[in-house]
């Protein structure tokens, strides 16, 4: 009886170990809470590679609170519309339409890409960028529910402003965002990872100037 029970337990344990071993190769499984490699599909296929990489927009252009608040902030729809009320489709598509129109000797039509159409719908606008609800109340506008990529547990308090003002590059934690088509979490955001960076920063400074990065518990946990 005893040996049989033990056998069942050990057998189950072995099976689990095997599963861990195999899946860690197949799917890069990590401990619970470690979301390294998380790359969710976003409601609008916004490309950081295009905006931050190719076009060279500064991170703080859209994430303008990163330098002064706990949260970096997700840009408001208004920020998107500052440009996208003029840019309604990829430039190649617009150029193609221009060439087609020139060849066909007609007025070029407005080209609206499928992704930007989602943006305009969120802003309550139709393809001609006129309000869907013409009453002027802005009714019908519905903010986009982006999927959060980087999240820390509730007992950790991270402050973007403190890091940006100390001169830490966004890429230090977020990786080469400007090369990512879809944002992926490249760091494990674990405590060890945080503290190692803090220790290194205290030893070598950030951007040539000395910093006092906390390594005590109350730096982040309160």
């Amino acid at each position: 009886m005893n040996n049989r029970l033990l056998g069942i337990f050990l057998g189950t344990g072995l099976l689990f170990c095997l599963t861990i071993f195999l899946t860690s190769y197949a799917n890069n499984v990590r401990l619970p809470g470690n979301d390294e490699g998380y790359e969710p599909v976003q409601p609008v296929a916004y490309s950081h590679r295009l905006h931050a990489g190719e076009l060279g927009l500064a991170c703080l252009h859209c994430h303008s609170d990163a330098g002064r608040s706990r949260n970096a902030g997700i840009p408001t729809l208004q920020t998107c519309m500052d440009c996208h009320k003029f840019v309604t489709a990829p430039i190649l598509d617009i150029r193609a339409e221009d060439e087609r129109a020139t060849a066909a000797k007609e007025k070029p039509r407005r080209i609206v890409s499928a992704e930007l159409r989602k943006l305009y719908a969120a802003a309550g606008l139709d393809d001609d960028l006129r309000p869907v609800q013409p009453d002027g109340t802005g009714a019908g506008a519905q903010s986009i529910g982006w999927v959060r990529v980087h999240a820390l547990p509730d007992f950790v308090y991270f402050n973007h402003g403190a890091h940006v003002s100390a001169g830490v590059e966004c890429q230090t934690c977020h990786g080469a965002i400007e090369t990512m088509e879809r944002v992926r979490q490249v760091s494990d955001l674990s405590m060890g990872w945080c503290v190692n960076c803090h220790r290194g920063a205290n030893a070598t400074g950030v951007g040539g100037s000395a910093v006092a990065a906390p390594t005590d518990c109350a730096g982040c946990h309160y």
Binding site: S69, T76, G145, A218, H221
Partner: protein, 992 residues
């Protein structure tokens, strides 16, 4: 697995415990457990829940998500109208703090004011108008009311508006304009905590009805007869701040006012007095007459009022006081909390005769607090009973609850043709009204206030109203055919009336208005030029004292926090310990030990008191320092709707309801009062109470009252425990270390001291300044997400407050002295808690903080056992937020602790981090005052100083050399970071 405690831990050898059965031994158990754990980890490896991050469509310009926005406004907790700053995070107010720039209240704010933020998130608030009990639309209300109004313009029946003293200048103007349209329109002001006799006395003496603006900072001698001015009387925050300003002893010559308190119950103010004279409330008029006679004689006049002759008990005290007041003519102040006209006439006369009226009793500047008239309200009651009122509008008053006599006002209201009641919750008055209109919370509305004539302040909304609320002014303007918004009405009134009186000449109205909204208040030119001349014939109304009686007297008093009961729906205030008795969640019949012995009463026995036809059944509390032959009962309890708190606190098998379902918190004692001589008297003669035979548990947060050691433990000289240092001013003037217990011989078992390379945070608490008002307790609760646990948990000593105020009695029964001592984590340099934590969940950091790391804590509670200050709190449960909406008040910068972990004061580490980060963003070092803890910020007396000892210029560094500094239990070698400062009392009145 849970049952086998000897093996479940997995670490260390198993010692003791049940022997493992031979069939399934320890070793196999551990193996199996290990595999199960591994399995569970793999099973938990799924991808995390999808979280949405939803940005604004168009961001308001001033809002930065994750960063607080502050709005200056005016407190709506009581009529005092203190200046406040509202902290908004991500669109919702989460904390209220005092406005440091405010001329009256300074940066302080009382417990009530700070707790107002919680009442905003109350799902029991009314949201829609009710017409005869049924929800309806505002258009329907407008139609019914205006329909009724057209029938009233002939003047056959009266239009009456009944309010408290809260309405500001614009609302008053709206009321006046509205009533002017009717031949018989009248505005009646009534206060539940009435000071009607003060106004009446000044009307008799100066021909103008007003409450003087008392300025305690200008008074060198303060004689208070039952006025609880530090706790509940008129404007406690302003008075506490001023009182503190008049008692600063750290200069080269100590300068400290001398405060004598005559009172029957132990009030917060009395507990702070230099001399406290215990007297029955019915004896106070006699004492005032005697004092007047003594003062007159000293001035060489024959007494203007009857002289009752030497008082057998207090003659020496009265003579001393008369001498002190006479010697300090023009620098004294006599105040009286009794609502008895002859007493108030004597007080007005004394201040006049002593020349105090130009200084501390400021007559040129009338206070806006409690300007109600009990006589006018009684007249309204008669009119209602006579059926002569066609329309009654009630706002900011609850007469059916607190008017003397059971049910008198409720019955009268139903005789009005149409009664309209504004109420935030369904209350006693609204339940008998035809129309109930939802009242906005003070954080939701535009309003204004004018606490004194030369200061006006604006209240601005910090959030969109939750309900379909409309203010009194907006309704009145609309019903008068002038529909304006509150903001338009206020701007219009200010432009016409207040802007021309502005103190600074320059600027357009718009800049004046914008500055006012930005700063919260505007200084105006003083309105009244001359206070008028004193009419001596008024003193003829002061008759001789009545005969002495030995009858039992019932005294009714307001409590700090709940006041007249308008905040009864606020669980923070219900669970705020009374500053003196430390009881929560109840009112009780407080009696002196001698009276209890006389009547054969024991603590917590339920007694039945029957004042004038009202029956009160309350548990007994034996209170040292109370006058014999008196019973004191708190007002503000027994409010309708407080049965909602029956389920407050955790649910478990031994849980006891905070109140039985269907019952209210405490009992309503307001109706036990009676109208006497044109005012609501705060005491009545009652027959001997009878015991019902039952008992009721009183939950108290402190059950040890004395600093004197128990006889068996005391050393031979009977020295009290050296937890508080006390000294008299006379002794202090001789030696600045007076009262000190001497330096302890300290030795250190720790070879390597902590290093503090950048900051070292420390705090000092001045016990001379601290009044025990408990503002810091609620400030801490709001800042640090401290849950409400309910009466049962408190009675099991499981309250969660990080900051408590210990109150100790000393002296004998006749002369009980009280010391208040805020007690919170001392952040010991050699912390006993740190050495015993097996998981290193409580550790020291390099800034002097004793950190509590929630995610490491496993809840052994060793730290709490080893803490000599008993300031650690254990989460026995996941405490439910009584109200679903109450979660919205949580501070997002502080973790909500879960069941099974320890917590304690963190020195507001979130504020320290914020201060450091702000300094870093601005590329400057952290300056003194950048980091203020919540308790320090809220303290009206500025008793708490927090700062960095590494900064030699900081206030806290400079205080280190103060000879009054001492540390609690210093001899145990814990080296606390909190230093207290000796409590100095000016007992002799020997002021330097």
């Amino acid at each position: 697995m849970k049952n086998d405690h000897s093996g479940g831990g997995g670490a260390g050898p198993a010692v003791g415990g049940p022997r493992p059965s031979p069939g399934f031994n320890r070793r196999s158990f551990l193996k199996a457990a290990g595999f199960t754990l591994a399995g569970a980890m793999v099973a938990g490896c799924d991808r995390r829940k999808v979280e949405r991050a939803i940005p604004y469509l168009v961001k308001p310009e001033e809002v930065i998500p994750g960063t607080p926005t502050w709005y200056a406004s005016t407190c709506g907790g009581c009529e005092a109208a203190c200046g406040i700053l509202i902290k908004n995070r991500d669109g919702r107010p989460i904390k209220i703090e005092g406005n440091p720039g405010h001329p009256l209240s300074g940066g302080g704010l009382c417990a009530t004011g700070q707790a107002m933020v919680l009442s905003l998130y109350d799902s029991h608030r009314l949201r829609k108008p009710l017409l005869r009990g049924a929800e309806t639309a505002w258009e329907e209300i407008d139609r019914v009311v205006t329909g009724r109004l057209t029938g009233l313009s002939g003047g056959e029946k009266g239009v009456r508006i009944l309010t408290g003293s809260s309405p500001g200048p614009t609302t008053l103007a709206a009321v006046e304009a509205f009533l002017a349209r009717f031949p018989d329109g009248k505005h009646v002001t009534v206060d539940a905590l009435s000071a009607s006799a003060i106004s009446d006395a000044h009307e008799a003496c100066y021909g103008r009805r007003f409450v003087p603006h008392y300025r305690f900072d200008r008074a060198k001698v303060i004689a208070s007869f039952d006025a609880d001015f530090l706790g509940t009387w008129l404007s406690p925050v302003e008075f506490t701040r001023a009182y503190r300003a008049g008692r600063s002893i750290d200069g080269t010559t100590p300068s400290m006012s001398h405060h004598v308190q005559f009172e029957s119950r132990m009030s917060l103010t009395g507990s702070n007095a230099d001399r406290r004279v215990v007297t029955r409330p019915d004896e106070q008029y006699r004492l005032l007459l005697r004092l007047t006679a003594l003062v007159d004689r000293r001035a060489g006049r024959s007494p203007v009022t009857p002289d009752p002759g030497p008082d057998p008990a207090h003659e020496d005290e009265l003579r001393r006081l008369a001498a002190a007041l006479h010697a300090r003519r023009g620098e004294g102040l006599v105040v009286c909390g009794s609502n008895h006209l002859p007493s108030q006439l004597l007080v007005a006369y004394l201040n006049h005769a002593l020349g105090n009226t130009g200084a501390a009793a400021d007559l040129a500047s009338a206070s806006g607090c409690r300007r109600g008239s009990d006589a006018a309200a009684a007249e309204l009651l008669r009119e209602l009973d006579g059926g002569g009122v066609g329309l009654l509008i009630v706002c900011d008053a609850n007469p059916a609850y607190d008017w003397p006599g059971e049910g008198t006002f409720a019955a009268a209201i139903s005789k009005a043709d149409l009664s309209v009641v504004f109420a935030s919750h369904a209350n006693e008055t609204s339940s008998v009204a035809d129309i109930v209109l939802p009242r906005a919370h003070p954080l939701e509305e535009w309003d204004d206030a004018q606490p004194v004539p030369d200061l006006a302040s604006v209240r601005q909304p910090a959030i969109t109203p939750f309900g379909e609320t409309r203010s009194l002014m907006s309704c009145l303007y609309r019903w008068a055919g002038d529909p304006v918004t509150d903001l338009e009405a206020i701007r219009r009134h200010w432009r016409a009336n207040l802007y021309p009186r502005r103190a600074t000449a320059a600027g357009t109205f718009d800049t004046f208005w914008n500055d006012t909204v930005y700063g919260g208040f505007a200084r105006l030119k003083p309105g009244v030029a001359s206070p008028g001349t004193f009419n001596g014939s008024a003193m003829n109304r002061c008759g001789g004292p009545g005969p002495r009686t030995r009858e039992l007297v019932l005294e009714l008093y307001p409590t700090v926090g709940l006041l007249d009961g308008r905040h009864a729906h606020n669980p923070w205030l219900q669970e705020l310990p009374d500053p003196v008795t430390k009881v929560v969640w109840d009112n009780y019949a407080s009696v002196s030990p001698a009276t209890a012995a006389d009547l054969g009463l024991r603590q917590e026995d339920i007694v039945r008191i029957t004042p004038g036809g009202v029956a009160l059944e309350l548990p007994v509390l034996i209170q040292p320092g109370q006058a014999d032959g008196t019973v004191a009962v708190a007002l503000g309890y027994g409010r309708m709707g407080t049965d909602r708190f029956s389920g407050v606190g955790p649910e478990w098998f031994e849980a006891v309801h905070t109140v039985e379902p269907g019952e209210t918190v405490g009992r309503n004692a307001g109706q036990a009062r009676e109208m006497r001589e044109g005012a609501i008297a705060n005491w009545v003669v009652v027959p001997r109470p009878t015991q019902t035979g039952g008992t009721r548990v009183l939950a108290r947060t402190q059950e040890y009252d004395s600093l004197t050691m128990p006889a068996g433990l005391a050393p031979e000289d009977g020295e009290p425990r050296p937890i508080i240092q006390e000294a008299t001013l006379a002794a202090y003037a001789v030696s600045r270390t007076a009262g000190g217990h001497g330096k302890h011989e300290l030795f250190d078992i720790w070879p390597d001291e902590h290093q503090f390379p950048n900051h070292r945070w420390a705090m000092s608490i001045d016990l001379t300044a601290c009044t025990g008002c408990s503002a810091c307790v609620v400030g801490c609760q709001a800042e640090n997400n401290i849950p409400v646990v309910g009466k049962d948990e408190v009675s099991r000593n499981r309250e969660m407050a990080w900051l408590r105020i210990d109150r100790y009695y000393s002296g004998d029964h006749g002369d009980v002295r009280v010391s208040h001592q805020p007690m919170l984590c001392q952040h010991c340099e050699h912390a006993p808690c740190e050495t015993v934590c097996p998981t290193l969940a409580t550790v020291h950091n390099d800034e002097g903080l004793n950190q509590q790391v929630y995610n490491r804590c496993v809840g052994t509670r060793y730290c709490s056992n080893n803490c000599p200050y008993k300031i650690r709190r254990f989460n026995w449960f996941d405490y439910p937020r009584g109200d679903e909406m109450a979660r919205l008040v949580l501070n997002p910068d502080v973790a909500v602790r879960e069941r099974g972990i320890m917590e304690k004061c963190s020195f507001c580490v979130q504020r320290i981090q914020e201060g450091k980060i702000r300094a870093r963003e601005e590329h400057r070092p952290v300056a003194d005052g950048d980091v203020k803890t919540a308790c320090e910020q809220s303290c009206p007396a500025q008793a708490i100083v927090f700062g960095d000892l590494r900064d030699p210029e900081s206030r806290i560094s400079k205080l280190q050399s103060n000879p009054r500094m001492f540390r609690v239990l210093e001899e145990t070698g814990t080296a606390p970071s909190i230093a207290y400062m000796t409590l100095v009392r000016n007992e002799g009145g020997a002021d330097g």
